[in-house]
């Protein structure tokens, strides 16, 4: 009984120590483990062409939500370029609440890591994906299941820790690596 109060305080300390270091802006996505929401958007480069959820199937793939107004997107762009050069996983883009002109200029100036970019100026498809900021990066299984969602800029650390093991696992369990 006499240790109850110190034990209680210690427990509280542990709870605070863990809880206060969590980032409240990282809201876990309820989409994980569910099929990727369907969309059909015009592509950024060609308003006549379409980009749909089905285009990403067949191998593990990334869907990166970005915009030119988003500072974090500028930060992670070089990382995306490196991933694109490595070519292990195809990267698809979702241009979120942006304008076509500046977005195309951005890709021209900084390089284009994307296989295709969907153009979503009204944030309609993005709403279905639960996007609430940018950048956000989704990892998709070959069958279109949402495997993981990363919030904020991608960096080599988060890539190695969060993406690589999951992609390895997918490839080991039958999905072919995208080349």
């Amino acid at each position: 009984m006499r240790y109850l109060v110190p034990a209680g305080f210690f427990l509280l300390l542990v709870v605070f120590f863990v809880g206060l270091r969590l980032n409240p802006s990282e809201v876990p996505s309820p989409l994980i483990g569910k099929p990727a929401p369907a969309f059909e958007l015009p592509t950024l480069s060609d308003p006549e062409a379409n980009f749909a959820t089905g285009d990403m199937l067949g191998r593990p793939a990334l869907l990166n939500v970005w915009a030119t107004w988003c500072a974090g997107c500028r930060v992670e762009h070089e990382m995306l370029m490196q991933l694109s050069r490595a070519g292990d996983v195809p990267i698809f883009g979702l241009n979120y609440r942006d304008e076509r002109g500046p977005a195309l200029e951005w890709l021209q100036a900084l390089g284009d890591p994307y296989k295709t970019v969907g153009y979503d100026p009204e944030g309609v498809a993005s709403l279905d994906w639960g996007v609430y900021g940018a950048p956000e990066t989704f990892l998709l299984a070959p069958d279109g299941t949402v495997v993981y969602k990363h919030l904020g800029p991608l960096d080599p650390g988060s890539w190695e820790e969060e993406f690589v093991p999951r992609i390895r696992e997918m490839i080991a369990s039958g999905g072919s690596p995208g080349r």
Binding site: V5, G8, P24, S25, V27, P28, S29, P30, L31, P37, R97, E122, G123, L127, D128, W129, G130, Y132, G133
Partner: protein, 164 residues
């Protein structure tokens, strides 16, 4: 250069201008108090009431301590538009909440449902209160069992110590 006033007003007219500026500022104050979402979404008062209730129960995920009714972030605008469209097409309140939860999780609701993952959240106030009551009771009982006599003796000793 240094002494030149920022507002280049002739001295005689300065006070008048100040009064005018204060008046204008005063006129602008009600604007600040006005709701973000000032446009009336529905003609039908019943639908409008449901719209207002819903937008006041949904969280804007970009500006986390605001509801989508409070916020003018683009995401809040999108979610308001979605709420309006769904209401217009006859969706029920629970359908709209389910739609939001499917995409953004329980966090989007200011009043999350009671289930295994939110149990602690719901019980925390009661648990904290219970903890507080327990501690208080223990402290009071501890004082009581220590006895008045003992305290009196201690006090008397202390008093004696002070005198010598």
């Amino acid at each position: 250069m240094r002494d030149r006033p920022i507002l280049c007003l002739p001295g005689a007219r300065r006070t008048a201008a100040r009064t005018l500026a204060a008046l204008l500022l005063g006129l602008m104050l009600p604007l600040a108090a006005m709701a973000i979402d000032e446009s009336v979404a529905f003609e039908d008062p019943a639908l409008q009431a449901r719209y207002e209730t819903l937008t006041n129960e949904l969280r804007c995920l970009v500006c986390q301590n605001q509801t989508i009714a409070d916020s003018n972030a683009e995401l809040a605008q999108d979610l308001r538009r979605e709420t309006r469209d769904m209401l217009a097409s006859g969706a029920s309140d629970s359908e709209i909440k389910a739609f939001m939860t499917e995409r953004y999780g329980d966090f989007v609701l200011y009043k999350p449902p009671l289930k295994a993952t939110t149990l602690l959240l719901w019980l925390a106030p009661a648990l904290l209160l219970l903890g507080g009551v327990l501690v208080t009771v223990r402290v009071i009982l501890g004082r009581a069992s220590q006895g008045v006599d003992e305290l009196a003796v201690e006090e008397a000793e202390a008093a004696r110590g002070e005198r010598t």
